[in-house]
């Protein structure tokens, strides 16, 4: 019953022709207020593709991701997500913010946080149905968050919190996933779980944009964008991740 409207093609049968990019930017400047962080970004991402944004802190990858999510207005140039203004399709685009490990006293259990992923669909008043609950449950199973579903957030380790937030993003059943450092704080098995989740989401036609400073996250990407307050390189991983580009992006060569 969960799976019924799961393949994303059913939600927009007509306006998503296979050639229309899910995300397209031309000569885009992104930044905060009047200060641009990265200028002149052009990219096209199609359904099922994974684009990985790589850079150090302050390189502009989170800023670009926030612009795609509609949280920051584009400073110059054009950007469209699902052929619309970013942020205007909350049910179809899910965003994972960069979460600092929270030791805050928030009285929220892991399962409550995952259930918040349904709010975009439920709005202010609609009651969660059995379908919503099974979507939440399935999302928790996929990231492993089901094992600590009844524990409050404040008692979870950094990795467990990250699995919880990722499950929330999955519970949104969106067509576009914008993930800011989803593997931060995860051990190897956690990273593998994230990679599996991304692969299975892509297999059902979901577009994924992922910001990271870990080159390993780029292995299965369709395209990689190296950022250092400007676009250092953009292209297929083998091409973009040349030693020269990586050195320019990080200031040194990361061991592979």
């Amino acid at each position: 019953m969960v799976i019924e409207n799961y393949p994303i093609s059913t939600s927009t049968p007509t306006d998503m022709s296979p050639s229309a990019p899910t995300i397209s930017a031309t000569h885009l400047d992104v930044g905060h207020g009047v200060h641009s962080v990265v200028r002149d970004i052009s990219l096209q991402v199609h359904a099922g593709e994974l684009v990985v944004l790589i850079g150090t802190n302050g390189s502009g990858k989170s800023t670009l991701l926030k612009t795609m999510a509609g949280m920051l207005p584009p400073l110059h140039g054009d950007i469209a997500v699902l052929e619309r203004r970013p942020g205007s399709a909350p049910r179809r685009v899910a965003y994972l913010p960069q979460h600092p490990v929270s030791s805050h006293t928030l009285p929220l259990r892991a399962r409550d946080i995952v259930a918040m992923g349904r709010y975009a669909h439920l709005g202010l008043f609609r009651r969660a149905t059995g379908t919503d609950r099974s979507i939440v449950r399935e999302a928790m199973q996929r990231t492993g968050a089901v094992e600590f579903e009844n524990q409050p957030l404040r008692e979870l380790s950094g990795g467990q919190q990250q699995r919880t937030h990722l499950a929330q993003v999955l519970a949104r059943q969106a067509e576009v996933l914008l993930l800011d450092e989803p593997t931060a704080g995860l051990d190897l098995s956690g990273k593998r779980a994230v990679a599996d989740v991304i692969a299975s989401e892509r297999a059902r036609g979901v577009t994924v944009v992922l910001a990271t400073h870990d080159l390993h996250d780029a292995e299965s990407a369709t395209a990689v964008m190296l950022l250092a307050q400007r676009v250092v390189a953009y292209g297929p991983p083998a091409q973009a991740l040349s030693d020269a580009n990586v050195r320019e992006c990080f200031g040194f060569t990361q061991p592979h």
């Binding site: 928030l106 259990r109 918040m116 975009a120 199973q141 492993g144 380790s157 051990d187």
Partner: protein
């Protein structure tokens, strides 16, 4: 049987014998519930300081209103509006951290309130009334007003619960879920302002803050769900009202302050009692291994 019950007399007799004390208990119970609802979101979102600012921001409004013979509530509402406008203006236009801006604004508003009331002949009486309320002079009209305020605050909580909870986790989460952060942030401030303005006549502007924060913070320590946090906060607020009034009656001390002091020491008590549990929770973390499917 009768003798053992008689021993408990001091716990309920003050209320059965004195109508003013009954009204005080009813009034402070309503305030406690109002503050539990609003305070839960204030604590979740970390807005305690803004609550503080609002509580002080209303003082000059009340003072001006009293000077011109206008109901204090009208002045308080205007004061809250000015304060909310001031906070958002200063935080968006001036390059100061918001706590500096809010801190300056509320000290400014407080001193303005004192300046205005010092023009009045009954200065000390006025300022004491504003800061600490008149819990022992609660009329049935006051109680009716309290019910209206409770209805407004509860209605806002029902409408905005989801965006409020999303915002307590992350503003971006609320924004990308399709909720306007600007609108719901203003709505949350409005809710706090309504709670403060609606409660100051009973417990005073200074003390309403205690009931806004302390029971909700106690609830946060004891629960793992927002709904139970709110219920726990209401329970501790009502318990504080009762214990505070009882203390006030038997030891002849200020009523409003006794209630707020009770709510704060209950928080401290709970915080101390839950330390072992919280420490245990944190120690266990490194040992828990993570499985993947």
């Amino acid at each position: 049987m009768t003798t053992s019950l008689a021993l408990l007399n001091p716990l309920w007799e003050p209320f059965s014998r004195n109508e003013f004390l009954r009204n005080a208990l009813l009034g402070s119970t309503l305030v406690a519930i109002i503050c539990a609802i609003a305070g839960t979101y204030v604590v979740l979102r970390g807005l305690s300081f803004i609550g503080d600012a609002l509580a002080h921001g209303v003082i000059p409004g009340i003072a001006i209103a009293l000077l011109f013979g206008v109901p204090g509530v009208v002045g308080a509402a205007l004061g809250a509006l000015v304060m909310m406008g001031g906070v958002s203006l200063v935080t968006s236009r001036v390059r100061l951290s918001s706590d500096t801006a809010i801190g300056l604004l509320f000290v400014g508003m407080l001193s303005l309130g004192v300046i205005i009331t010092s023009r009045s002949t009954s200065f000390v009486g006025d300022i004491t009334r504003i800061l600490f309320g008149e819990l022992l002079g609660v009329s049935s009209t006051d109680l009716a007003w309290q019910v209206v305020v409770l209805a407004v605050v509860a209605a806002i909580a029902v409408v905005a619960h989801r965006p409020f909870v999303l915002m307590s986790l992350d503003d971006g989460l609320a924004r990308t879920s399709g909720f306007s952060v600007r609108f719901f942030h203003s709505l949350m401030l409005t809710m706090v302002a309504v709670a403060v303005v609606g409660s100051f006549q009973l417990v005073g502007t200074l003390l309403v803050l205690g009931l806004l924060i302390a029971p909700a913070a106690t609830g946060a320590l004891l629960t793992r769900r927002v709904s139970t946090m709110m219920l726990t906060a209401a329970g501790f607020g009502v318990l504080s009202s009762y214990l505070g009034l009882l203390t006030s009656y038997h030891f002849d001390v200020a009523a409003g302050a006794s209630i707020v002091f009770t709510s704060v020491y209950l928080f401290v008590l709970v915080a101390i009692l839950t330390i072992p549990r919280r420490l245990r929770g944190h120690r266990e973390l490194p040992h828990q291994h993570e499985h993947t499917h």
